[in-house]
Assembly symmetry: C3
Homo-oligomer: 136 residues x 3
């Protein structure tokens, strides 16, 4: 059985944000055994799994990814959508736009320290749309 | 229900290429609700989702990934398959070798600006083989 | 049908390691047609697919990722868990924490040169726990 749920996130500032609670609240009771995929319908924001406890990890992820993928490199030619646009496409490609998580006993079987991250890579990305798919 | 389809891509030059049409043409009519996975059977080419409209994004992805993962770094020891080989393995590991896309109402539920990219990271990669899996 | 299998890996040294045999040995006979997902329940180790033949690829992956994500960058603020901790979160985010592989005729349909990699990004990561999900 396959069920899709569309979730629209609130508008987030540029950076990494823990969205596990948005996913859990956007879904009905989960089947006992399943797989849940979270897919973002954008190419300038990312979905990943990372540390859920200390906000300094999200801060450092943002600082590091800006260091790794700087704005205004001379090599960019796709520049007409703003300095943050081409770097956002690159960051999303490196980190990925979807994750898939096992469901065991009706709950996301995340490790103790795992949470779901939105990486908002635009300065003003607005509301991001997700498709959450439950396969059971 | 699980169905696998083997698709062989035409030989592409090094760089990023939009292959959404190859995937759609290589599949029969899709079930109303499904998940499609595109998996590449190689370790020196990548599959990702990125901007589908402006070829300058593909160009900049290629220029940037060559800047991020340069050839002929002194640290490489795996050099006997050519200067482009070890960087190709690294690029494929960073970007990924498969994507999974929801199917809603019989169509890939990609965002407006999303397309499927082949990243050909070898100078002469030849025909790349994909396994496309439809779960419904 | 969805079946989950929990596999605990032996403790590995920091670096990239081929774990295809651990996955195959940890699973019962596979269905003829299926999809297998390997998900790691940690945020400082990664799962990826890469070259399975030459150990120099694993060595160079480790050398390169340390060059790409150095320890002790001034920008890190999440430092109280050791110099290897924040870089490990970044490496895991870039490479990913799960892969999904088609099963055809009862076997993982990996390409000739593809194997499953554990990226152990901590100096002393200990035993890593995987959830392997078979969808058929």
């Amino acid at each position: 059985m396959i069920n899709h749920y569309q979730i629209t996130l609130p508008s987030y500032s540029r950076g990494f944000h823990l969205i596990t609670h948005h996913i859990e609240q956007g879904l009905p009771n989960l089947p006992a055994e399943a797989v849940v995929q979270i897919f973002i319908k954008h190419t300038s924001a990312s979905i990943s799994i990372n540390e859920n406890a200390d906000a300094s990890v999200r801060d450092d992820m943002e600082t590091f990814i800006n260091y790794l993928v700087p704005e205004r490199l001379a090599l960019y030619t796709h520049t007409y959508e703003g300095d943050d646009d081409m770097p956002a496409h690159i960051k999303a490609a490196l980190i990925g736009n979807h994750v898939s998580i096992p469901v065991i006993n009706g709950h996301l079987a995340l490790g103790t320290w795992q949470g779901i991250y939105l990486g908002e890579h635009r300065n003003h990305g607005g509301n991001r749309r997700l498709i959450v798919t439950v396969q059971s």
